[in-house]
C-alpha cells in the first residue's frame, strides 16, 4: 500500500482512506514495509498540515464548556465512590466474594485516578476552567510517582521529544529494546522478564523514571544530583506504602491482611493496565522513531508530523476510551495534549481525514493487535540483531529560516 503520491501539486492526487482500511496496519506483519509508508513532507507541507490540525484544535477549544467540566467531575465522582465502595467491602466484608468485588472497585478507582483524571488534569486539559481542583501544576495523584516528576518527564520531555532516540526516555523506558533502531546489548536478552516485571511494578518504574538511575551508573550525574532528585520520590513512595500497607490495614483491625492484599492487587491491576495502554501507544508496528539530527531545527508543523508518526491508537468502545484515559486515542492525545481527552473521539475522524490528504499514515488497530505487536517486538528484539538506522529524511528544508515566528518549533533557551 503506497500513500507516497497522496500529496503533491498534481490535481486529483488527494487520497482518502477507504472504509475500514486504516492506512498503517491492515495486515501489518512486516516491520520494514510499515515504517516507510509515510510521505515525507517538506517544511511547507508539514506546516500546512500543522495549521490544519491547529485549526481543528481551535475549533474544539472554542466549544469547550460546561459539558467538559461535567464529564471530568462525573469521572472524579465515579472514582471516589468506587474507592469508597471498595474500601468498605475490603474493610468490613467477609469471604471471597466481597474481597473480589472490593478489590475490583478499588482497582477501577485507581485506574480512573491514574488515567482519565490524573494524567489528563496534569496535562492542563482543564486549566481553562480555573477550578483549583483541576489545576495542572498543583494536581497530585494516588501513585508513587510525584506530580512534579511526572510533569517534567512526561509533559515536557516525552511530549516534546516524542520518539526521538536518545532524547525521549519513554522509548522502552531506557531498559527495553522496543525498536530495531536501538542498539542491542546483552541485557536485552532478559527483556521479556524485565518487561513483565516492569508491567507488574509499573508505578515504580514511572516513579523512578525521572531520577535517571541509568545516568548515575553512566557517570552522567553525580550522586549528589541523584540524591536531590530522589528525595521527593522517596518521600512520596514512603507515604504511599504507609497508606496502602500500614494506615488502611491498621484501620481494618482484624481484616488487616485482607485489606493489605486487596490494596496490593488493586495497585497491581492498575500497573498492568497502565503498562499495556502506554506500550500500545508508542511501540506497535507502524510507529516510527526519529534521530536527533533530523529533528534539530524542526518547525511546529514538523513537530505535528512527528507526533503523528510516533503514536498509535487502539480501537474500542466508550469504556475502553474511559479506562485508558482516552490514550486509546494516543495520536490525538499527542497532537492535542492539552485538549480535554473526552473530545478525542470526535476529533479522530477529522484528524484521519487530514492525515490522508497529506499522505500521512494513521496507525490504529484493536487492543489485541497492538498489544500482541508490542509483545512480539519485545520478544524478537531481545535477540541480537543489527541496529537499523533511523529512516533518514531525504528532503532538505528549502524554507528553513523563513518560517513565520510562531511556527518555529522550540525556541532556544
Amino acid at each position: 500500500m503506497h500513500l507516497g503520491t497522496a500529496f503533491g501539486s498534481g490535481a486529483g492526487s488527494v487520497m482518502r482512506p477507504g472504509p475500514g482500511t486504516p492506512p498503517c496496519n491492515s495486515h501489518g506483519k512486516k516491520e520494514v514495509s510499515m515504517t516507510h509508508q509515510n510521505k515525507t513532507l517538506t517544511r511547507e507541507q508539514a506546516d500546512a498540515f500543522g495549521r490544519e490540525l491547529l485549526a481543528l484544535r481551535q475549533e474544539v477549544v472554542a466549544d469547550l464548556g460546561e459539558r467538559d467540566v461535567e464529564h471530568i467531575r462525573r469521572i472524579i465522582r465515579a472514582a471516589r465512590r468506587s474507592e469508597a465502595a471498595g474500601r468498605v467491602l475490603l474493610h468490613v466484608g467477609i469471604g471471597p466474594v466481597s474481597f473480589v468485588l472490593g478489590t475490583s472497585a478499588l482497582a477501577l478507582s485507581k485506574i480512573l485516578e491514574n488515567m482519565e483524571i490524573g494524567h489528563n488534569v496534569m496535562h492542563g486539559q482543564y486549566d481553562w476552567t480555573g477550578d483549583p481542583d483541576l489545576a495542572s501544576q498543583r494536581y497530585e495523584w494516588d501513585l508513587v510517582c510525584t506530580g512534579d516528576d511526572w510533569r517534567h518527564s512526561h509533559n515536557y520531555e516525552h511530549h516534546t521529544f516524542t520518539n526521538i532516540l536518545g532524547k525521549d526516555r519513554d522509548i522502552g523506558y531506557v531498559m527495553l529494546r522496543v525498536v530495531q533502531e536501538q542498539e542491542w546489548k546483552p541485557v536485552h536478552l532478559a527483556q521479556p522478564i524485565l518487561a513483565a516485571l516492569l508491567a507488574l511494578f509499573f508505578q515504580w518504574g514511572v516513579g523512578a523514571h525521572d531520577l535517571r538511575i541509568d545516568e548515575l551508573f553512566a557517570g552522567k550525574q553525580t550522586s549528589r544530583q541523584f540524591a536531590r532528585r530522589a528525595r521527593p520520590f522517596l518521600t512520596k513512595a514512603t507515604w504511599q506504602l504507609f497508606k496502602d500497607y500500614g494506615f488502611f490495614p491498621i484501620l481494618a483491625l482484624a481484616n488487616a491482611p485482607r485489606v493489605a492484599l486487596g490494596n496490593l492487587l488493586a495497585n497491581g491491576a492498575r500497573n498492568l493496565w497502565a503498562f499495556a495502554v502506554i506500550f500500545c501507544g508508542h511501540f506497535p508496528e507502524g510507529v516510527r522513531v526519529y534521530d536527533q539530527a533530523e529533528t534539530e531545527n524542526e518547525s511546529r508543523g514538523e513537530w505535528y508530523a512527528r507526533q503523528l508518526g510516533g503514536s498509535a491508537n487502539v480501537e474500542g468502545g466508550r469504556w475502553l476510551h474511559l479506562l485508558t484515559g482516552h490514550l486509546s486515542h494516543q495520536i490525538e492525545h499527542h497532537l492535542f495534549p492539552d485538549v480535554p481527552a473526552s473530545r478525542y473521539p470526535e476529533m479522530a475522524p477529522r484528524v484521519r481525514e487530514i492525515c490522508a490528504r497529506y499522505g500521512q499514515s494513521y496507525c490504529t488497530g484493536s487492543f489485541r493487535r497492538q498489544l500482541g505487536s508490542v509483545a512480539r517486538r519485545i520478544g524478537r528484539l531481545a535477540l541480537p540483531g543489527p541496529r537499523r538506522p533511523v529512516a533518514a529524511k531525504p528532503v532538505a528544508h528549502p524554507a528553513a529560516g523563513r518560517v513565520a515566528s510562531a511556527w518555529i518549533g522550540r525556541r532556544a533557551a
Binding site: 491547529l54 484544535r57 481551535q58 477549544v61 469547550l64 464548556g65 460546561e66 459539558r67 467538559d68 467540566v69 461535567e70 472524579i76 465522582r77 471516589r80 474507592e83 469508597a84 496535562h123 492542563g124 486549566d127 481553562w128 476552567t129 480555573g130 477550578d131 495542572s136 501544576q137 494516588d142 510533569r151 517534567h152 509533559n155 515536557y156 520531555e157 511530549h159 516534546t160 512520596k236 507515604w239 504507609f242 497508606k243 494506615f247 511546529r300 513537530w303 495534549p337 492539552d338 515566528s405 510562531a406 518549533g409 522550540r410 525556541r411 533557551a413
Partner: protein, 366 residues
C-alpha cells in the same frame, strides 16, 4: 504557654501533612460537598436564599455564607466567584447589607455586555451556590464614627454607602448624616423606599436624591447645587462611590476647597479595566507581584524570553506551548498567544509565558 502553643502548632501541621499525604483531605472535601455543596471544608461558599429586584436592571442577592465567612465591615467588598459555562469567573461586589448578620447581600446592576452581572441576573436564583472571597477594602467607617457624615453616591455606587447607612441605623448612630445620591430617573434609585423609610424614622438623616429628570435641578452632579444643598460639605467626613466622571468632579471640588483629607473614595469597575493595547514588540512594563520586581520588555520576544533577558528565571520546559511548565497567573493586562492568536485580557487568567507576547502593561504572579 509557649510550649503548649508549640505542641498545638506541631499537631496541626502534622495532621494537615498526614491528611494531605494520605489523600484524606481530598476525600473529606469530596464527601462533604456531595452531602452539602455550601458547607465545605475549604474556601468560603454561600447559598442564595433570596433575590430582590431593586430596580429594572438591579437585583440584590441575599446570601447565607458558610462558617468560613469571617464577617465584613460596612463599605467593604467581596470577590464573588461563579461558574459560567464551565469557567470560574470572579468579580468584586460591594456588600450592601449591614455587618453583624447571618445573611449578607450583594446588589448587582446588570451591565450591558457584562458577563458576570448578566449571568447573575439570568441564571442565579434561590438555592444557587457561589464562591466568596474574604471581605476586603479600606473604604470603611472610621472608629469612632465621626459625628457629621456625608455619604455621596451615584448609580450602583450606592451599594457600599448603603451598607454604611444600614450599619449606622442598626447601631442607632445616625447623628448628622447627609445622604446624597445621583441617579438617572426616580425609578433607577436603588433602595429608594428603604431610604425614604430610614429618613422618616431618623431625624439625623437628611436624604437628598438628585435625578436627571427633575425639572428644577441641574442634570447630574453640579458643584454649586451641592454647595447649596450641603453648605458644610467641606467639613463633613465624606464617603464617595459612583461612576468615574462623578468621582472626578467631586474629587476636584474637594481639592479646590482644601478638603481632600475628608474624602474617602471607592472606585468600582463594572467590567475589567480597559488597558490600552500596544503593537507587538513595543516595550511594556511587566510587574512581578511575588518578587516585587519590574521588567521592561524590549523587542518582539515572547514573555519567557523577555523575562530571561532581564535576568528572571521562570520555570519552563518545551518552550513551544505544549508542556505547561511555564503556566503563570496573569493578574492584569493583555497578552497574545503567538500560536493560536488568542488574546487574553481578563484579569487573573493563566497564560503560557513561552508562547505569549505582551500587548499591554502586565502584572504577573511571579
Amino acid at each position: 504557654m509557649k510550649s503548649a502553643e508549640y505542641i498545638a502548632n506541631l499537631w496541626r501541621s502534622t495532621r494537615s501533612t498526614l491528611f494531605r499525604r494520605l489523600f484524606l483531605d481530598r476525600q473529606a472535601e469530596f464527601w462533604v460537598r456531595e452531602i452539602d455543596p455550601v458547607h465545605t471544608l475549604t474556601g468560603i461558599r454561600a447559598q442564595v436564599v433570596d433575590v430582590i429586584a431593586e430596580t429594572d436592571d438591579t437585583k440584590s442577592f441575599v446570601l447565607r455564607p458558610n462558617a468560613a465567612w469571617r464577617g465584613h465591615r460596612a463599605g467593604q467588598s467581596t470577590l464573588v466567584e461563579v461558574e459560567i459555562d464551565g469557567v470560574r469567573v470572579h468579580r468584586f461586589y460591594s456588600i450592601s447589607s449591614a455587618p453583624g448578620q447571618a445573611l449578607i447581600s450583594i446588589t448587582v446592576k446588570r451591565v450591558p455586555g457584562g458577563r458576570v452581572s448578566s449571568w447573575l441576573h439570568q441564571h442565579v436564583g434561590v438555592g444557587h451556590v457561589v464562591g466568596l472571597g474574604p471581605a476586603s477594602g479600606d473604604f470603611v467607617l472610621p472608629t469612632p464614627i465621626s459625628a457629621r457624615l456625608l455619604l455621596l453616591s451615584g448609580g450602583s455606587g450606592i451599594t457600599p454607602v448603603m451598607s454604611m447607612l444600614r450599619d449606622l441605623a442598626a447601631r442607632s448612630a445616625i447623628e448628622d448624616v447627609a445622604f446624597v445620591h445621583y441617579a438617572r430617573t426616580r425609578a433607577d434609585v436603588i433602595f429608594g423606599d428603604e431610604l425614604e423609610d430610614l429618613a422618616a424614622r431618623h431625624a439625623g438623616l437628611r436624604l437628598i436624591v438628585c435625578v436627571d429628570d427633575d425639572d428644577d435641578a441641574p442634570r447630574g452632579f453640579d458643584e454649586a447645587h451641592l454647595a447649596a444643598l450641603v453648605p458644610d460639605f467641606a467639613e463633613r467626613s465624606t464617603f464617595l462611590c459612583g461612576p468615574g466622571a462623578l468621582m472626578d468632579r467631586v474629587e476636584k471640588l474637594w481639592a479646590d476647597v482644601g478638603a481632600s483629607h475628608h474624602l474617602q473614595r471607592e472606585r468600582f469597575v463594572a467590567a475589567p479595566l480597559f488597558t490600552p493595547l500596544v503593537a507587538s514588540g513595543e516595550g511594556v512594563d511587566v510587574r512581578l507581584s511575588r518578587s516585587q520586581r519590574r521588567v521592561v520588555t524590549r523587542g518582539a520576544g515572547t514573555l519567557l524570553e523577555q523575562l530571561e533577558g532581564a535576568g528572571e528565571r521562570p520555570a519552563n520546559g518545551c518552550r513551544m506551548g505544549i508542556c505547561r511548565t511555564c503556566t503563570c497567573l496573569k493578574h492584569s493586562g493583555t497578552v497574545e498567544n503567538l500560536v493560536t492568536g488568542e488574546v487574553s485580557s481578563e484579569p487573573d487568567q493563566e497564560i503560557q509565558l513561552c508562547i505569549s507576547v505582551p500587548r499591554s502593561d502586565l502584572e504577573l504572579d511571579l
